[in-house]
Symmetry: C2
Subunit: 213 residues, 2 copies
């Protein structure tokens, strides 16, 4: 089909489609004899995928490009594709100027969390640095030390990761080779879902608490 | 102190401080007899808070402004301040053009999740719309229905919210009136922490799975 039809089917303006092609998020069409470009079902699906990531997640176009790259590159390995997708969408905090005591408190808490979950030997450097930067920022503000808050968040993260991978394992067992695109996309959509459901859960729990329930 | 000293103490450039004042993130200083502005400890703390939110979270300056507004406005009510802080930082997905079947599947899943957690009467309209938009996007891509994935994410969100509020309750019990700034900021820093720890947990769990552990 021509670009006009592709635009009609997907509801995405021609100019936006051309932009995605230029930015290499969408593969070029095939040149036809009359020198126009021809697109097929794979282009429709790819456009829907770009649109979904752009509309439902908070990702930038360049992050989406990296996610799509990860899906293409590691299509054969669901685990590698997921790792690359998570890395591409990781928000790296800027390290803030901080007093030495805050840095030390942060280091202790980070070490404890990694140790308690057996993550010490697996956490990549960039995630470790982020963990430290986030905790340092917290302690720099002079807030009370809340070990149980951090423990609770780490437990939730561990459960989420284990749950994700269980579901992927079961899907692989029942459907054979798994689709890396599906695994990566559901991981990222899952994070957005988590953020929205957290807000819903918080609103509800807050009402119950205020009623003394 | 003058703006130069404020800049030195916080490590934030004078131009940036002036920008924050102009954008009303930071209150003006007090005009002194020689017509320069004088700043105090409250300005230092506010600057650190702005910096922390700007550096560790993925929030825009206008979102940070709303968060600070929520803290000021609802300083006396920790629950209201938290609700306003979460609302200000909520990422609202654009609704995508979607086939009717995808919308129906999304509606069924959204209803089920809200029902299972007793959230039906509490979820604000905008979060409900987001939930529907995210699920619709997922089903539009033609991925397998994965009820257990969504259930698992909802459970994690519920735990996180309950945990947050338990900690706030206990802090209130032991320290008397609670600081709304602390409650809101730790909620938002907590979300960034969750995102980083999720990536660490995923990396570790993925290694264990691949080893057949």
């Amino acid at each position: 089909m021509r670009i006009g039809e592709l635009s009609q089917v997907t509801g995405i303006p021609v100019a936006t489609i051309k932009y995605y092609v230029r930015e290499r998020l969408l593969p070029r069409g095939v040149e036809t004899s009359d020198r126009s470009m021809s697109y097929d079902a794979s282009h429709i699906h790819r456009l829907l995928l770009i649109r979904t990531l752009a509309d439902t997640t908070n990702l930038t176009i360049s992050q989406i490009k990296e996610v799509l790259g990860a899906i293409n590159r590691f299509g054969g390995s669901v685990h590698q594709a997921m790792a690359a997708g998570l890395a591409a969408t990781h928000h790296t905090p800027h390290p803030t100027k901080a007093p030495e005591t805050a840095v030390q408190q942060a280091q202790q808490t980070a070490d404890r969390l990694l140790r308690e979950h057996d993550w010490e030997d697996y956490a990549p450097e960039t995630y470790r640095d982020s963990l430290l930067a986030i905790l340092t920022a917290y302690y720099t503000l002079g807030y009370p030390d809340t070990p149980e808050l951090f423990t609770m968040i780490a437990n939730a993260a561990a459960q989420l990761a284990a749950g994700d991978l269980d579901i992927i394992d079961r899907a692989t067992a029942s459907e054979g080779e798994l689709d890396a695109e599906w695994a990566v996309t559901s991981l990222l959509i899952g994070e957005t879902l988590m953020s929205t459901l957290h807000r819903i859960a918080h609103t509800a729990a807050s009402s119950w608490h205020q009623r003394g329930g």
